[in-house]
Subunit: 165 residues, 2 copies
DNA sequence: TTGGAATGTCAACAAAGCTGACTTAATATG
DNA sequence: CATATTAAGTCAGCTTTGTTGACATTCCAA
C-alpha cells in the first residue's frame, strides 16, 4: 500500500492526513488556551496579558524589546498590556543600569501569583495529555512542533535566554 | 535518574518540560497560521473567513448550526463572516429541503479556489514539518494533540461527519 | 394552534492586533 | 563634540473578531 506513495511509508503525507493534522492543531490549540482563558475571563485580563506574564516569568529582567521580538506584536499593542500590568502592580519595570534607555521587566509577588495560577491550569492539561500519550509520543509531538515554527523563531527559541539584567 | 520521579520515566512531566511544550505550542501555532495569514492580508479577509471556508469545504452542505458548534463562536460573529462570503460569491447558502429553517452551506467555484489557495499554503508547511520529523513523530504528535482537546470536541472531531444535505 | 427551535439582523461594545506620527532620553558613531 | 540611532512610551485612529442583548421571521411538532 505504501508502494503507491513512492516505495516509502509516506502515507502520513496524504492530503487527507495533512487535513486531519491541521484540524487537530486547530482543536488542540483551543483546548490549550481554554483553561487560562476561563480564569482570565473572571478578571480584566486577556490572552495577551497571559503571554506577557508568561515570558517575563521565564526570563525575569527581559527588556521590552526582547519581549516584542518574542511575542511578535507591535510596541503599541504590547505597551497597552504592560501599562495595565504595571499599574495593577503585577509587573515591575526598572530602568537599566548599563543602558538607561532600557526597561527591565520583573513580576511582583502578585504577578508571580497570577502567573502560577494561569500556568498551573495550562500545565495540568499539558501534563494530562503527555501522560495519556506517553514519552515517545511527546518526543514526536515536540519534533513536529519544532519543525512547524518559523525558522528564525526556532533559532531564537533554542538560542540564548535573555535574562541578564 | 528516572527513579527520582517515581520509578518510571516521568522526566517528560517536569514543570520545565511542560513549560517548553507550552512554548513550543505557542510558537508552532504562529507558524501554522503564518502562511494563510499572509495570503489573507492581501485581501479583505481574516482568519475567521479561512476557518469557515475550511470547514465548509470539509463538510459541504453543513448547516450554520453545525459550523457554530465546530468553530465555537457566536452566531452573530459567524454570521458577519458568512455574510461577506455569500455577498462575495464564495459561499452558497441553500435553504434545506427537509427542514426549510436550516441553511446548507457550499463553496462556489471561487470559494473552492480560495480554499485551495489557503490550504495549499498551510499543507505545504505541515508536509515539510511531517517530512522533517518522520512518521513515528507524526503519530506521537497526533496522539498528544488529541489528548489536549476538550473531550466533548474530541468526540465530535472523531465522530460523524456532518455532510448530509 | 401555539410553543419552541433555527436563523438572521440590529446595535453596542471589548480585546487585541495594526499604522503613522511624535517625544524623550540615552547611546553610539563619525 | 555634533549628529544619528536606538529604546521606550504615547496619541490618534483603524480593523478583525469576538462578546451581549433584543427582536423578527419562519416553520416544525406537540
Amino acid at each position: 500500500m505504501a508502494e503507491f506513495q513512492g516505495g516509502e511509508n509516506l502515507l502520513f503525507l496524504t492530503d487527507e492526513q495533512l487535513r486531519q493534522g491541521i484540524e487537530a492543531m486547530f482543536f488542540a490549540y483551543r483546548g490549550f488556551t481554554a483553561d487560562p482563558d476561563r480564569i482570565l475571563a473572571t478578571m480584566a485580563y486577556g490572552r495577551a496579558h497571559h503571554r506577557a506574564v508568561h515570558f517575563i516569568s521565564r526570563s525575569p529582567g527581559t527588556t521590552v524589546n526582547n519581549l516584542l521580538n518574542i511575542l511578535g506584536v507591535t510596541k503599541q499593542s504590547l505597551n497597552r498590556v504592560l501599562r495595565t500590568l504595571v499599574e495593577d502592580g503585577l509587573v515591575d519595570s526598572r530602568v537599566g543600569k548599563a543602558d538607561k534607555r532600557e526597561r527591565h521587566l520583573f513580576l511582583t509577588d502578585a504577578g508571580e501569583a497570577l502567573e502560577r495560577k494561569l500556568s498551573d491550569a495550562q500545565r495540568a492539561r499539558m501534563r494530562a495529555a503527555y501522560r495519556a500519550a506517553g514519552p515517545e509520543a511527546v518526543a514526536g509531538f515536540r519534533q513536529v512542533l519544532e519543525a512547524m515554527m518559523e525558522p528564525e523563531l526556532r533559532r531564537r527559541y533554542y538560542g540564548i535566554r535573555e535574562n541578564e539584567v
